[in-house]
Every structure is written in C-alpha cells, then in structure tokens.
C-alpha cells in the first residue's frame, strides 16, 4: 500500500465516522456509535435537553448504569442497597427519572447487569471494534482495548451526544507505544501501563490518541488490554487503542449485544481489517521492552511517579511539586516503600475489577491471612463478575483471608459512595489515580496491580508479589 493511503487503526475508525470534515474554522462533526451514561455527569445534560425541549436522538445507542455514588455494602438483594448521603440519593433518583423520561436503557438497582460503566459495556458486547464510544468519564479510554475509538467527554458534550448523536472534534495526533518481548511472571498489564506512564509522563500523551502494539500487548487477554487502555488518560491521552484480533473476537462471541449469525461473520471480517496498515505513519513513537519490566508501584501523587516494587524512592532533584508530593505521601527519598505500614488495600475499579484481576489477587490470598490492622476491600466491577467470582469460590478465598467482599461499583477509587480511606492512612489500590485526597480527604494512595495489592495486604507493607506466586 502507498504511504499516502495507508492508515492507522485510529485513522480508519475516525474517518469512518465523519459526518462533516473539519476545516480551518470548524471542527469535524463526528458520529458516536455508543453513548454510555452514569448518574454523576449526566443530570445537568438532561436538564439542558428539557430546557431546550429536545429529545434523545438515538436511545438505542445509549446505555446507562449507576456506579459512582452507589453503595457497595453487602446486602441480600441489590434492591436493599442504602445510598449514603442525601445528594447522592437525589442523583440516583434523577438518573432513574431521566432514563425513564427519555426512554433509555438503564442498568439500575434492579438489574443483574449493573456495574461500572467501563466494565458492563464490554461485558454486554456493546463495546465493539471500530465503534466510536463516549461517556462522561475519562476512563472511557478502556473500550479502546477492542479497537474502538473511545474517549471521555464533559457534561456539555454529553448533552451534545444525547441531542445529536454527534460531537464537534479536532482530530488528535497519533502516538504508537510498542511493548516488545514477553512479560515475566508476576508482571501484569497494570505494571506495563504504570511503566509507560512513568516513562512518557502524565502529559506524555496530551493531544494524542495512543495505539498500544507489540508482542507483549498481542499476548494479553482482553481484560489485560482493558487495563492498559483504561489508564491512557493518566498519560494525558484522549484515547488508547489496540488492534482487534482473534483474542478480541473470541471475547465478543456470544455476548448479548454482539452480532449473531451472518452479521457476526461480516462484522469479524470488518473488525480484522481495522489494524494499522504496515506503511502507515504515527506522529510519535515510543518503544518499551516488556521483558525488562517489574511489578510497579507509585510513590507520589500522580501515576507518573512510579518505581519498580522494591526500588528506592527518587529525590526529584529539588523540584518543588515533586517534594510536595513526597511530603504528602510521607515517603523518604532513597528508601523503598516497604518501610511504610499499609492501612487499607483496595482491589477494584474500572482498571482492575474484572474476573482475571480477582483471580490473580485470590491466588495470592488463598490459604493465607491478611496482616493485622489492614482493611482489605474487594469490589467486583459488575454484578455479573460478582456472580462469576462466587461461582468460582473466590468470595470465600477473600473472606477467609480477612478481606471484605462487596457489591459492584466504583467504590474506593474515588470515594464518592461512602467507601473512603481515612485521613492520613496509606492505601495500596488497584485503581487508577493516586491524586491527593482521591480516596478520601488526606488519604495516601499507592497504585499497584491486583497481585501487588494482595501481597501488600498479607505483609502489611508494600510487597513484591513474586514471593507468593505458585505454579
């Protein structure tokens, strides 16, 4: 193929959704194939629709759930959940009313398919290669794991998509991130993406759409790929994508919203043609040797402040923001993180709450006890995952080790629902953001993989999971 016509995965999906091309004076009108909505970033958008007397253009391309401000306390049936706080309860009611009034499918408290928005999209097979997917949530980049162009939007844009099924967008630049070689035992997708962010920085992807590629990415299952794409935004990128392949098709086959019969065959053919043409060029490229990677942990207050578990905390060469981060975290330059006592371990979030994440954590916790004084919260990403984990007996593994087993939701990732880390306490979390106060006022967060989080729960300090691995 000629270089001028050769396209990247991103360019193929982008050009397939152009209603009106961009000009110097106007952005492109981009069609959206799937609009995911949740209770926190939509109420003001629905109010706008009401004010202007507009309806939702494509209710059939809109899918709702409730996840952010919903409780995860164990109950007999999810209908018994009691929402923490009057305003959160009001928000949940508003979501129910809005979805009813505008005729939208909502996976609310009565749905067995309720869960974190970025978990249920793929689980239902609504997330598919080649689609444009948006949601009022920055971790929408997760869906890029399927070769979809998926990105987070603000509430004004949520209103735009509800009313027109389109967005005004400028075309981002492209960034190829190649992860070569084979990951070693104990090194997971979470460690890969943390290492990438450590290398390119929390603004390394700004203005770009990332394509993750290379043998280490190709070898990943879909859940691992979702973990990688999920944190694209933590490198500042609008989106992260991975080319669809047989692994993608195998995951989607038979899912409730996946095409069936001859439509499935046609879709597979189209999906497999989305991969970047060999002659296509990226605006920027980065390469990382997967074989060299180790389990990674953050030590500061953004995901780019990251080191291999066991390594010494760097000193930041006198940078004031760096110093402020270390002071907030109460960590000492030159010392490893294993010096600090861990108070809370959180296993969950749209980054790491899928069945393989729970299995990895359970494999380490099985037959062992959580260290005294450590609170461990395990929050599955969806009610479906909860059910599957219980079928596999993982809930018993967690409970017997001393961990709490919860209903699904965003939970302690951002502490909007009452699940918070108390002020000053240190948390090892499988979530995506270690910002100041993210998990609660004054909470200190160390980001890690499910395996590292589980190992740290057992040891009571940040610990290398590889010591607990069994064949």
């Amino acid at each position: 193929m000629h270089e001028a016509t050769a396209k990247t995965l991103f360019e193929k999906v982008w050009s397939d959704h152009i209603v009106r091309d961009e000009t110097a004076d106007t952005p492109a009108v981009l069609y959206i194939d799937l609009h995911l909505i949740h209770e926190v970033t939509t109420p003001q958008a629905f109010s706008l629709l009401r004010e202007k007397g507009l309806s939702v253009r494509r209710p059939d391309l809109t899918l709702g759930t409730m996840d952010h401000s919903t409780p995860t306390t164990p109950v007999r049936t999810i209908k018994d959940l009691a929402i923490v706080g009057e305003s959160a309860a009001k928000q949940v009611v508003a979501m129910q009313d809005n979805c009813r009034d505008f005729g939208l499918e909502l996976h609310g408290f009565d749905s067995e398919q309720r869960g974190i928005v970025h978990v249920i999209g793929p689980e239902l097979g609504a997330t598919q290669p080649g689609k444009t997917i948006v949601c009022g949530d920055s971790h929408t980049s997760t869906h890029g794991a399927f070769g979809a162009l998926a990105f987070g939007i603000g509430t004004t844009e949520v209103g735009h998509v509800l009313a027109t099924q389109c967005l005004l967008q400028r075309k981002p630049r492209t960034l190829a991130i190649e992860v070569t070689g084979k990951l070693r035992q104990g090194v997971t997708a979470k460690d890969v993406i943390l290492a990438i962010i450590g290398q390119i920085g929390v603004d390394g992807g700004t203005g770009h759409c990332i394509e993750f590629r290379g043998s280490a990415i190709e070898a990943m299952d879909m859940e691992a790929r979702m973990t990688v794409c999920n944190m694209s935004i933590e490198a500042g990128a609008r989106a992260g994508m991975i080319a669809p392949d047989e692994t993608t098709l195998a995951y989607l086959a038979g899912r409730p919203r996946a095409p069936k019969g001859s439509a499935w065959e046609a879709a597979c053919k189209r999906w497999l043609s989305l991969k970047t043409d060999s002659a296509a060029a990226f605006d920027k490229s980065v390469s990382i040797t997967g074989t060299d990677l180790q389990p990674m942990v953050t030590f500061g207050t953004n995901p780019g402040m990251v080191i291999p578990v066991g390594a010494a905390v760097p000193d930041g060469n006198g940078n004031a923001s760096f110093r402020k981060a270390l002071d907030y975290m109460k960590v000492t330059p030159g010392k490893p993180l294993s010096q600090a006592k861990v108070d809370v371990v959180f296993i969950g979030s749209c980054t790491n709450s899928r069945i393989s994440d729970l299995q990895q954590a359970a494999n380490i916790l099985r037959g062992r006890k959580v260290a005294a004084g450590v609170r461990v919260l395990v929050v599955p990403g969806s009610q479906q995952i909860k059910k599957e984990a219980e079928r596999l007996g993982l809930d018993k593994v967690f409970i017997e080790s001393g961990a709490e087993w919860r209903e699904s939701g965003c939970s302690m990732c951002l502490g909007m629902n009452g699940d918070t880390v108390p002020s000053g306490q240190l948390s090892v979390s499988t979530s995506n953001r270690n910002f100041e106060g993210r998990q609660g006022i004054g909470a200190r967060t160390i980001l890690a993989s499910p395996m590292t989080a589980a190992a740290s729960a057992l040891e009571g300090h940040v610990a290398d999971p590889r010591q607990f691995l069994r064949e």
Binding site: D25, T140, A267
Partner: protein
Amino acid sequence: MRAIRKLESRTVVLPSTDVDTDQIIPARFLTTTSREGLGSSLFYDWRFTADGKENPAFILNRPESADCSILVAGRNFGCGSSREHAPWALLDYGLRAVISTEIADIFRSNSLKNGFLPIVVDEDTHQWLLDNPGCEVSIDVEKSTLTLPAGRVVSYPIDNFARYCLLEGIDQLGFLLQHKDAIQQFEEERPWKP
C-alpha cells in the same frame, strides 16, 4: 455561554505542576444535579484545613488574591477526570482564565464550552508570570493575545471555532443541530450500523 472578548486582571499564581481535577473540585462534591454554586467547593482541600477553617497559607485565601480572575498555574493544569464541575467551580468562584505551558485536553475542551479561557504560553513567558505574581495582565480573545505589564504582547494558540464561540457567546449545540440533515444522511448511508 456568556460572551468574553477581553479580560483584564491581576494574576494569582499557583506554581504546582499537574494540578488535577480532584484538587480543583474533590469527587465528594460531585453528587449534585446542578452546575450552580460549585465555587464554594473549589480547591476545597487546599483552601480549608481538616477542621473546616480557611487555610491562610493557600494562595486564594490571601488578601492580595481578592478580585483576581486570572490564574497562572504549573504545567499540565486540569489533568485527570472529565468532570466539567472543574471549570464550573472555577467560574463560580470568580476565576475566568488559567495560563500555563500545558493544559489537559478534556479540561481545556470543557473550559472552552463554558467561557473559561485556557491560555497556553511559552516557557519564558510562563516563568516570568510565575516570578511576578499579582501583575496586571490582559487577554484579548479576538486577537488571541496576552499583554503583560510594560506592553509586552504574547500570542497564544486557540482553535478558530472555539474563539468564535467565546467571542459571540455561542452555544455549540446550536451549531451541531444545524447539521441535522447531514447526520440523518450519514445514518442512512453508512455501510454498517452500530
């Protein structure tokens, strides 16, 4: 959106890099169904101490910051979540613009839709602004320029369409709705349906 053509103000300087949206407005304040009144939650955990008292050391609480509407911030301001509550809170508090060397994508997009100006300048200009807190500057949206004291003029990049919407106070939804026929045609003619 309120039209904005010109903004003149003294600056308030927050030199930290990578100021994320969880600092601009912590997640626990997002359980609202309104976009009004969020200024009281702006930078809450920096503005207030654990017992709810004003933190006198925080820059926005100092007397010299009163009436300033232009924030000068470290690189990569607004990184993190997509919450539009961040520009809503900044505007409700009384700030109208942020100047940095880099502004995170989603925050920038949200800001422009609400008439909050995200201004990206070169390292030298930025350093000068960091070193001279409280200086009087003006932003001319039409010319896309920032004028520093002593008349030094610096231009900043902005998308033509975003600038037009700021100047006219145009709501972008109206522009999108004008494409109704093209959208319908796209839906009918595309080779595959989602």
